[in-house]
Subunit: 339 residues, 2 copies
Amino acid sequence: MKRSIPTKRTTIYDLAELAGTSASAVSAVLNGNWKKRRISSQLAEKITRLAEEQGYALNMQASVLRRERSKIIGMIVPKYDNRYFGSIVEQFEALARERGLFPIITCTRRDPALEIEAARAMLSYQVDCLIATGATDPDRIADICSAAGVRAVNLDLPGSRVPSVISDNFAGALELTRRVLANCEREFGEKAPLLFVGGRGTDHNTSERVRGFRAAHAEAGVAVDETLVLTCGYAPEKAENAMKAMAEKVGTLPRGMFVNSTISLEGVMRWIRRSGHYADRIPHLGCFDWDPFVAMLGDHIEMVRQDVPRMLDAVFEIIDSGASDLKVIQIPPIVEQTG
Amino acid sequence: MKRSIPTKRTTIYDLAELAGTSASAVSAVLNGNWKKRRISSQLAEKITRLAEEQGYALNMQASVLRRERSKIIGMIVPKYDNRYFGSIVEQFEALARERGLFPIITCTRRDPALEIEAARAMLSYQVDCLIATGATDPDRIADICSAAGVRAVNLDLPGSRVPSVISDNFAGALELTRRVLANCEREFGEKAPLLFVGGRGTDHNTSERVRGFRAAHAEAGVAVDETLVLTCGYAPEKAENAMKAMAEKVGTLPRGMFVNSTISLEGVMRWIRRSGHYADRIPHLGCFDWDPFVAMLGDHIEMVRQDVPRMLDAVFEIIDSGASDLKVIQIPPIVEQTG
DNA sequence: CAATTCTGCTTCATCGATTGAGCAAGCGAG
DNA sequence: CTCGCTTGCTCAATCGATGAAGCAGAATTG
């Protein structure tokens, strides 16, 4: 049963010979437009049966090479290590498949160079459209796509060259901060500024969330403590180190925190546990992102969950409609019920 | 700047014309074997420069069509909603890219039909090799691949037609069960059978883990309570419902549980919280899988983490070496330190 | 100086599917 | 019986890259 010579794949020419007909008839039958090409249903049936019997599989490379559109759609994503990106990818695949598109995905691990390389690779594979998710430099990717005449859409982080779909970070952060401030006031009886930790100060999402954070403080009549705004990056270690440094600097530790992603929360929680600073009283947390186990961590954590289904619907609406106006669509995130 | 006619892509023929040479020279230069083909370095340089200037990108579809091997490697994965599969996919991409292979991944959401369809789609794209991860029917996929002369490897769940890489489920479950039994005995002073929940009784992993679970009970001289073995599927809702049904049936609730994946744990935790049955004393848990936030849930949870890096190294070792003996490689999982 | 080798290319068939153009047979109308 | 139309196909070019085979002209050898 073992053969070192790989079974030569069946082609339309093989089928044509078997059916005593031409390759073009076979092609027409197998890609469904045999009616347009006036092939008799008898021949169509015969060819279909033969294809089945021979285990024929279309050679996409050949097909795509010849066709105008490839029906391949690409997505670039930073990581697979959290629920947010996980559900983005899963949803993306489902919606693509629904439309008869073939999804290909690349994880760039937040590496800007890999991001560009991945975009180029996707173009080489003739994607019809590329979705850049959480890209560090979405405009660069958009430029590369535009040079190849390929449509692009930004997701999660906005760009200025192609349409973008993002969460309403300001509104989400505003509400989240409000809640944490209220929780703190309820428990400790006084208003005090919160800590903001995680994210890159230069990225749109983080700056919008900081803006919401500030707005909520202003609303409550609390002055933001600038030494407590730690946009140190997303990685757990970075958040952990930033917390450590912060604790050494400030007099009294904040009683409430705004954590900018579950990834950063991992580091924050680690620090809280290891440092022992909060052994007496657990701080109130707000996390911009959702995770089922974080939700179980206790009722001192509020979460804002980005609305992935609506975000991806918006992405595909742009793709389906062929729209290319440079709008940024903001999807309101969902404030999770605690408890 | 907006053009409805997509910029015609530069091809090697365009470059050839610009360089006043032939397409085959361009091809030789751009795919790096111009020395073999005795192209002068002057011409090589000129072509390289032109390619750069014109933003030339290889058409992979054309290239793959012509070549013997596609250098595309496929992976089928059930879900993206947990750390285990997330890191599998991330690692897979990294290792593939390291080898100059182009990874394509499809998420089947545990749907057997989609699994087959996805495998066929990958074959249509001429993958050189397909990794079936956690497939419900790995042998079916292996057969489809073999008919096309494509190599396959099973990951996470073993099959009988191609090599497999899995966790040492028995050993992991044995150790995990031991620990939970010990934790229960320490706290409650008596030995009592644990609950097993999650997974499909028919899948290899689950049955091996149940075997480990039983072996640990036997070792401790505790009889397994058969009404407490709930292989109800992985989904959170299934685990939750199984717990509910179990609670209505048994007299005293188990004080310790073996939970077969973080996914199932989600349902178990939900039930524990909602039912209120464990309001007085938290049960001791063992989870076969790892998640950072589960680890933070408390010191009453033990976890076994599957060794994804080693598993994928093993997969690529099989691929690199071209081995096709039907062995099942078992990778010992890592017992996480609690606290 | 003729014979050979080497250099640096070009030519052309090929991979498999797609599709516009075209062709032969059949049929109905005039 | 002929013209025109329909039916049911086939032919051949094409997509872009690849590489075996071949071919001038220069360089080297005996």
